[in-house]
Amino acid sequence: MKLLALLISTSALLAQVKHEDLLKSPNADWLTVAGDFRGQRHSPLKQITSANANQLVPKWVHHIEKANGLRTNPVVYQGIMYVTSNNEVRGIDAASGRLLWQWKDSRAKKDGANRGVALLGDRVFFITADCFLTALDRRSGAVLWQKQYASIDDGVFATMAPFAVKDRVLVGVGGGDTGMRGFVAAYSAATGEELWRFWTVPKKGEPGADSWGKLVQYGGAATWLSGTYDPESNTLYWTTGNPWPDFTGQERSGDNLYSCSLVALDLETGKIKWHFQFTPHDTHDWDAQAWPVLVDLPWKGQPRKLVLHANRNGFFYVLDRTTGEFLQATKLVDQLDWASGIDAKGRPIELPGKAPTPAGNRVCPGVRGATNWMSPSWNPDTKLLYVVTLEQCDIFTSSSKEPEPNKGFSGGGAGPKPVDLGQFFLRAFDPLTGKRVWEYPMTGPGESWAGTVSTAGGVVFFGDDDGHLVGVDAKTGANVWHFNVGEGLTASPISYAVNGQQRIAIASATAIFSFGLFEPVKAVPLPAKR
């Protein structure tokens, strides 16, 4: 009995998500929103293959009451799946879909979509819409501490999953469409104490402040998506949003650093190592929020540490992730008319007449971009990056009104004409050439936000624009399986294993679905009464 108690307590002690676990690629567990620190979203599980994926069936559905457009990316550890909705976290039995616990912050001062949790130790980290970083016990959902890191009165809010690395949790903010100042901040995972804060818009007098004109105080450059991390160099990679006001640039002459950029930050200090700005002086709301995927590949014959980035502005970039050096940019989409290309230093070669106008100006890509925060994935076997892309042009309008922060003003607007709606494609890119290897056209209304997961079984799973979870062959893009979830998809799938069976899971608008290969369901006799 004592031995049993010891075993239980030992296994309970061991059941901690260690930093070292997070460094590994996912396996039965899917420990971070992007699967691992590198943002590759590749599962080494290979029970499901392109030959047997046609036998995938739903194993369970977990409905989330009052949910609408779930954006949560499930995270799984030792048989428990953690998902989020509006100011709410749930622990679910990943085998049965049954609720284990739920925690809701009913006093949050703002409602909003949420992208998921981070795990570290025995804790689940979560951010409320009004920017309270929250630590919960992963087994019970009991709250351990809450720390407010920003105020909605300053025009910011949160939709992101926090990012846990080593002993700390990284957070960011949204709100860049109405005037605010973006930042990334690190908090102690143990105590919630703030360790550092990096502002994505410099203060007056700091380097980069002269790239802003007079609006630097409210420049935006929000930080609403989690980043990725390279343990060897202890570097965080974080993307930043648009400069404000989104659609008029006359009050913010200059490049507007560090908006629409990828910044490399020292994890220890938060100091910037380098930055790369994809869209200087953006006027089309092309946030750089799309995952920076870290891969190591031979580049022109030499091994090189790279970061791959499919950007909203329509280009697919390859950078050296040690130095930030620009290596290559190719077209993500065919409908791209604001720049003729990217020059040798990585700066767009802009074409005239593509700024928003009071009467409206048709520009491609549209305001949602050629891709967006929907997750890409990388398959180390095929050496292809799978990216959901949107072929769409929008009418961009500008306003001459005096910008006023935190009043719902973004300097204009953008949207498609009803007869000019876009079409989504899943595309596979070879980063060494930047070329498209295959594409899978989707049907649908042009409203998807769903991304991808790559699996070692040679199947890429993604949510399509018509509410299907779809599997395609990783090498060819040929369709192997689909399932109609019955509503729109605004989240990305993952893969995990439970009881030895590989699963594919995704959040639909109002529910979590888990799929596995067909197995006859066993009859379950009721237990004898005692």
Partner: protein, 266 residues
């Protein structure tokens, strides 16, 4: 996209805040009055059209034509919104006197109100003849009589605004014709089908043919497909119909309402 949503939401919350305190809808003779609507249209073009488009179809500001639902918000709330503007947006306060403000309200209301609730010009009885003779009836039905290919028009006036009805006659593809795009397929068994695409994904097709028969098709069975992405409706009715014929046809369609409408009292 996000921005276009922000404006109507802001407008709606404004309506909610400024709704009639007594809960009694305000009545103003300008509402539904063709002369007032016409006067309001001119005022709108001069003052509001810069943002909302001269015909209210939207531009920098949102379209005022798409939300038939807005009718459920009362006229006095709309009046107050135009009078005072919407804080936190680019919508300014108006300086027009009350009578003219009501004309603008009448025009804006006419953009989004069900056509059946408006006093529309034209002769509905003559319009019924146009409906038959111009060929509309070959594709559109009213209460079971007529063609099956196009949208059923039994309740057309109760569910569509007058500008929307007009647009769908002179420019059938203006809203993308979703649910009614022409499509033809050849199945692997050799069968050929054509009609409208009620719905389609990469995996299944719900096709309705000219006779009204529904074909539920697994896309794995489709060998060839021609998807026009446009309505099969002729595109030249705007030229083919004389101005009075079009007006009469619109009057007839505006009258198509299954339930009695409030505006008949006006």
């Amino acid at each position: 996209m996000r921005l276009l949503l922000v404006f109507p939401l802001a407008a709606m919350s404004m309506y909610a805040q400024h709704g009639d305190a007594a809960g009694k809808p305000a009545q103003n003779p300008a509402i539904g009055d063709p002369a007032a609507i016409d006067a309001g249209k001119k005022l709108f073009a001069g003052g509001c059209g810069g943002c909302h488009g001269p015909d209210g179809a939207g531009g920098r500001g949102p379209s005022l034509r798409d939300k038939v639902m807005w009718h459920s918000l009362d006229d006095s709330a709309l009046y107050t919104t135009i009078e005072k503007g919407i804080a936190g947006t680019e919508m300014p306060a108006s300086r027009l006197p009350a009578a003219q403000l009501w004309q603008v309200v009448a025009f804006v209301r006419s953009l989004s109100s069900p056509a059946a609730e408006m006093n529309v010009p034209g002769d509905a009885r003559a319009g019924e003849t146009v409906f038959s003779q111009a060929g509309c009836v070959n594709c559109h039905a009213r209460q079971g009589r007529g063609g099956k290919l196009g949208p059923d028009l039994s309740n057309a006036g109760a569910t569509r605004s007058y500008p929307t009805l007009r647009e769908s006659i002179v420019d059938p593809d203006a809203n993308g014709a979703v649910g009614y795009r022409a499509i033809s397929v050849k199945l692997r068994n050799g069968q050929e089908l054509s009609g409208v695409e009620r719905n389609r994904s990469n995996y299944s097709l719900q096709l309705q043919d000219r006779a009204g028969a529904v074909h539920l098709i697994d896309m794995a069975d489709v060998a060839e497909m021609k998807d026009s992405r446009t309505s099969p409706m002729p595109k030249d009715y705007g030229r083919r119909l004389s101005k009075p014929d079009l007006e009469n046809l619109l009057a007839y369609l505006s009258k198509q309402s299954l339930r009695p409408v409030m505006a008949e009292k006006r």
